[in-house]
């Protein structure tokens, strides 16, 4: 009964989405208020129905209803309750439903935005309604999670063991919040294109939504990277895998977008570029969905494949992206103009970085799809992996980071060069010196480590200088008042940039100082690496709720003093007999020591993988700081106040007319 209820709720949701996608659009076009009024209640209905469907599926998992094919294929009675709940989005069908749910959540939030003009809201909700229609149709026609399996099996299969990890509980929802969140920025851009009015107000309205989506995406990517580090057992945190690239491309374009929006808001400039980025960020999110779910690329993360799905998403891509780019081409002529500015100005700095970020995103896209394109042209099969992406990424991102930290010192429109140089040059030189010195002191002086550390120190030094300059603005008041007087958007920028500094420290340190060893160890034997000694004390069999495991006890010592005991496991999940490695990590502020258990060898011996990862946690700390910055900026009251004022003005104008 419950699965059927979910099924009906989904069908109703599709109908509501279609109504929401069509009527308000007509209403906005004809100036028909009654039709436009449909949008808000429809948005709430949509959320209600999708939520109901999602709850029904969750319920089926909780009560182990194996007559539902999706439940039977991805869960069993031995699976702990919390993993039964997260198993809902553990595979293709359910994760798509989660996607639809989060999309309707964003739509719900937009429907409570009363500060925007009614026509505009109607258009935004209609665009979002059309996107929802596409996704709900995709769920219903190609990936129905409620499909029955009769007669029901007594026991289900298992959730992919790699996904039975706490990181997996929140990683997909966060990532999807980001992907889907860009649909709001996208809808704002399309609504503005439809109305032909792309002005500073549009940019201001878009900013908090875009920032929030960007922050979620940042958290999602960070969690995904942390999950790979913990679960895959290779000690890596970023593999330039197609699926990772699929999430990284929208992030890059989204980063460009939040900066470009600020230029458009403050200066009215580069509007067509901003619109293109708004379309691009969401398009790349959709493209990522296609790459992950169609099976065109192989990846460690890819979902099971059904060619029908690929065709459906491709059609969806053509409709959404093709349609919006066509609209863009049609309206582009209206988008030129905006204030002029000098070569040395914040405008130039921001837009240069924008360009570079877009180039990086395009390069990642090129590298990800190049093998596919060659194969399609019958030119052979090649692989494009980390060496390529690193060779491209580092030289392109270096100027971005240098400019990023310098740009806040520049004024909009134009800035005299000598005082600017006087301000930033000492900091730049200092960071080069400090960076090289630190690299040398750590015993890893190389071109790359010195550059990385110099960049990181430049970000830290510039952030400190920037805060000092900001606090010097109102010298008569107390520090506390001055700190409080700084708007949240500024703090957001400050924290996000600082986070990049920490991130670079982490990456540089890991890349230049990490050590690893693949050793055969007998029980009782000791191995040393990077100043640590590892004693394999024992290997025992343990039984989990749905797996059996060999668990090693490894004593970690430094200078003969025990530091901690690590318990790496090699698990075999009973349902499908897949082996997984569960690494055990001694996490520290300045280093991780990472042990993972490989295969047994003769005479009580085991292959053990040991890694020493200096500063690795700074990578995630820095990324979370970026996300925190994004959230702070999204909460800035200024956007709301200005939007309110604008709406009041518009209302007054309507009343006067």
């Amino acid at each position: 009964m419950i699965p059927e209820l979910g099924q009906i709720a989904l069908i109703l949701a599709l109908c509501v989405a279609l109504v929401m996608g069509v009527l308000p659009l007509i209403g906005a076009h004809q100036g028909n208020a009654a039709l436009m009024m449909v949008a808000r209640p429809a948005a709430r209905c949509l959320f209600g129905f999708v939520m109901l469907a999602f709850m029904c599926l969750t319920y089926s998992f909780i009560v182990n209803d194996f007559s539902v094919l999706y439940v039977a294929s991805h869960s069993n009675t031995a699976l702990p309750l919390y993993y039964r709940i997260t198993a809902v989005w553990g595979s293709h069908e359910g994760s798509l439903l989660l996607w639809a749910l989060l999309l309707s959540g964003w739509i719900l939030a937009v429907s409570f935005s009363f500060r925007l003009p009614e026509t505009f809201v109607a258009r935004v909700l209609a665009v979002l309604g059309l996107v929802s229609t596409g996704f709900l149709a995709f769920v219903l026609f190609t990936s129905n999670p409620f499909e029955r399996l009769l007669p029901a099996p007594l026991e289900g299969q298992d959730l992919n063991p790699l996904l039975q990890d706490p990181g997996m509980i929140i990683h997909p929802p966060m990532l999807y919040m980001g992907y889907v969140g860009f649909s709001v920025a996208f809808a704002f851009a399309i609504a503005a294109l439809l109305s032909g009015r792309l002005d500073a107000a549009w940019a201001r309205w878009s900013r908090p939504w875009t920032l929030a989506a960007w922050a979620f995406l940042t958290v999602g990517i960070t969690l995904g990277s942390g999950w790979a580090y913990h679960v895959l057992g290779w000690g890596g945190w970023w593999f330039w895998d197609p699926v990772e690239n699929a999430s990284f491309m929208p992030w890059l374009v989204g980063t460009a977008l939040i900066h470009s929006l600020s230029v458009t808001e403050k200066r009215g400039a580069f509007r067509s570029w901003t619109v293109l980025l708004a379309i691009g960020a969401f398009s790349l999110s959709l493209l990522g969905t296609f790459l992950v779910r169609s099976g065109v690329l192989t990846s460690v993360h890819a979902f099971a494949v059904d060619p029908r799905r690929g065709v459906f998403i491709l059609a969806l891509l053509v409709f959404v992206i093709g349609g919006s780019l066509l609209l863009f081409a049609w309206r582009a002529a209206k988008l030129s103009g905006g204030g002029s500015f000098d070569v040395i100005s914040r405008d130039t700095a921001l837009l240069t970085n924008n360009m570079l970020l877009a180039v990086v995103a395009a390069s990642v896209l090129l590298g990800t799809l190049y093998p596919l394109a060659l194969d399609a042209l019958n030119l052979g099969k090649i692989s494009v992996g980390p060496p390529y992406f690193e060779a491209i990424f580092v030289p392109l991102m270096t100027p971005v980071v240098v400019l990023m930290a310098a740009a806040p010192f520049l004024r909009w429109k134009g800035h005299p060069l000598p005082p600017f140089l006087r301000k930033v040059l000492p900091g730049l030189v200092a960071s080069l010196i400090v960076g090289s010195l630190v690299a040398w002191a750590m015993g890893a002086l190389s071109w790359r480590s010195a550059l990385g550390l110099a960049l990181a120190f430049w970000v830290l030094i510039a952030s400190a200088m920037l805060l000092r300059e900001r606090l010097a603005e109102r010298p008569s008041t107390s520090y506390f008042t001055r700190l409080r007087g700084i708007p949240l958007a500024w703090w957001g920028m400050w924290f996000a940039h600082l986070g990049i500094g920490f991130f670079i420290i982490g990456v540089t340190m890991v890349k230049s100082l990490e050590a690893s060893a693949d050793v055969k160890m007998q029980v009782g034997e000791t191995t040393t690496m990077a100043g640590y000694s590892f004693v394999l004390r024992s290997v025992e069999d343990v039984h989990g709720p749905n797996y059996t495991a060999s668990r090693a006890r490894v004593e970690l010592k430094r200078d003969g003093i025990p530091i901690s005991t690590l318990y790496p496991e090699k698990r075999i999940y009973t349902a499908d007999q897949t082996p997984t490695t569960n690494a055990s990590i001694d996490t520290g502020l300045f280093r991780d020591v990472y042990v993972s258990l490989g295969d047994p060898v003769a005479n009580d011996g085991w292959i053990v993988r040991l890694y020493y990862k200096p500063f690795v946690s700074w990578i995630w700390f820095g990324s979370m700081m970026m996300a925190f910055g994004g959230m702070l900026a999204a909460m800035d009251k200024r956007y709301r106040r200005l939007a309110e004022r604008h709406a009041a003005k518009a209302a007054a104008a309507v009343a006067a007319a």
Binding site: W234, G337, G338, S340
Partner: protein, 159 residues
């Protein structure tokens, strides 16, 4: 490629530094380990496909690691070992695609894009400086002309 040679040199240097303390305790073996890891981490495993041969636990990856180790012991150079893999599995095993005619666009693309982006940005800014604003009707244009004669900042009127 020069970048390539440089990168390899750099990596070797880093590895030697990072493992120097380690190498002291287990002479020979650890250095060989590091060399095996360095070479195999840029080779793609064919069975699992999205792991490097260094990372993969697949049986074939194991055998290939052994191959690399034996060839290193036999004194083969990196290039010889990589060529050994390519003759058997094709360019597919290389995570670092070699520069040849079909990968020209791949390697040049990003930098060509950058030049294109900077160029078009510079060009647009130039255009923007010349033109006050694109959205003008006739009366606007007349007014702008008037203002242009008196003000430098005519574009601000419409922004």
């Amino acid at each position: 490629m020069r970048v390539e040679a440089f990168k390899h040199g750099l990596l070797m240097l880093l590895m030697t530094i990072a493992l120097s303390s380690h190498a002291a305790t287990q002479p020979g073996d650890a250095a060989l380990d590091a060399q095996v890891i360095r070479i195999t981490s840029n080779l793609r495993c064919l069975v699992c496909q999205n792991q490097s041969i260094a990372e993969s636990t697949a049986d074939l990856a194991n055998d290939l690691r052994r191959q690399v180790r034996e060839q290193l012991q036999a004194g083969k150079t990196d290039k010889e070992i990589v060529d050994f893999m390519v003759t058997r599995y094709g360019d597919f095993v290389l995570y670092d695609p070699p520069l040849k005619a079909i990968t020209l666009l791949l390697w040049m693309g990003p930098f060509a894009l950058m030049v294109l982006a900077i160029g078009s940005f510079a060009w647009t800014s130039q255009q923007r400086k010349k033109q006050p604003s694109a959205r003008l009707n006739d009366t606007d244009r007349a007014r702008a002309k008037e203002l242009l004669n008196t003000h430098d900042d005519a574009s601000e009127v419409h922004s």
